[in-house]
């Protein structure tokens, strides 16, 4: 069945360092992947997305890498700041041409930035 999992439930990073959050997905038919950030008491916030026809996509201080061969997704955050402390979720859409219609989320990784 569809499942999205994360390798590490918690991650602590020194402020200013780079962080990498990993995610494994099981549905090879997924063609759309998204990273969300959720702060305490708030709904998830979109960070960056990537389509399956790409291997890498960059945003402001963030980079998403997609390895379809091993069904692996990662989020790199450069020069981490205290405001980056949150729970990070990856999500997949479960099939080609589904768009954002039926997203499956992972269980999340809690990122803590150490001052």
């Amino acid at each position: 069945g569809e499942s999205v999992g994360l390798h590490l439930p918690t991650l602590s990073v020194q402020e200013g360092d780079n962080s990498i959050i990993n995610c494994a997905y099981s549905n090879s038919a997924s063609d759309y992947f998204i990273w969300y950030k959720q702060e305490s008491g708030k709904g998830p916030q979109f960070i960056i997305d990537i389509r399956s026809n790409m291997d890498k996509r960059q945003g402001q201080r963030v980079t998403v890498l997609l390895n379809k061969t091993v069904k692996h997704l990662s989020l790199q955050i450069a020069a981490t700041q205290p405001g980056d402390s949150a729970v990070y979720f990856c999500a997949e859409n479960g099939g080609p041409n589904f768009g954002n219609e039926k997203l499956t989320f992972g269980t999340g990784t809690r990122l803590t930035i150490i001052p």
Partner: protein
Amino acid sequence: DAGVTQSPTHLIKTRGQQVTLRCSPKSGHDTVSWYQQALGQGPQFIFQYYEEEERQRGNFPDRFSGHQFPNYSSELNVNALLLGDSALYLCASSWTSGGASYNEQFFGPGTRLTVL
């Protein structure tokens, strides 16, 4: 421009009761998705509404139903509440530009439902 809004913020019900949660999408958005997020877990997709119809549905029983109004706002109804329905219910909106939408979903702050 207001983002996605949800009401109420918190709700306490007892087993067997029924509940209705409401969502107003972000201005310009026509598609609403609902998710259930248990404590310490990722959101689980319940269903998505577009053009006032349920377009996709996750693995949730028929006790979970929804509706989308002509103004694109939406309701989530849960009947015969169980203790396990206690969770944060999230609404997300986006716009669909014909066919499948790969547009960003914006989430509301959620409604915290507690079933006693």
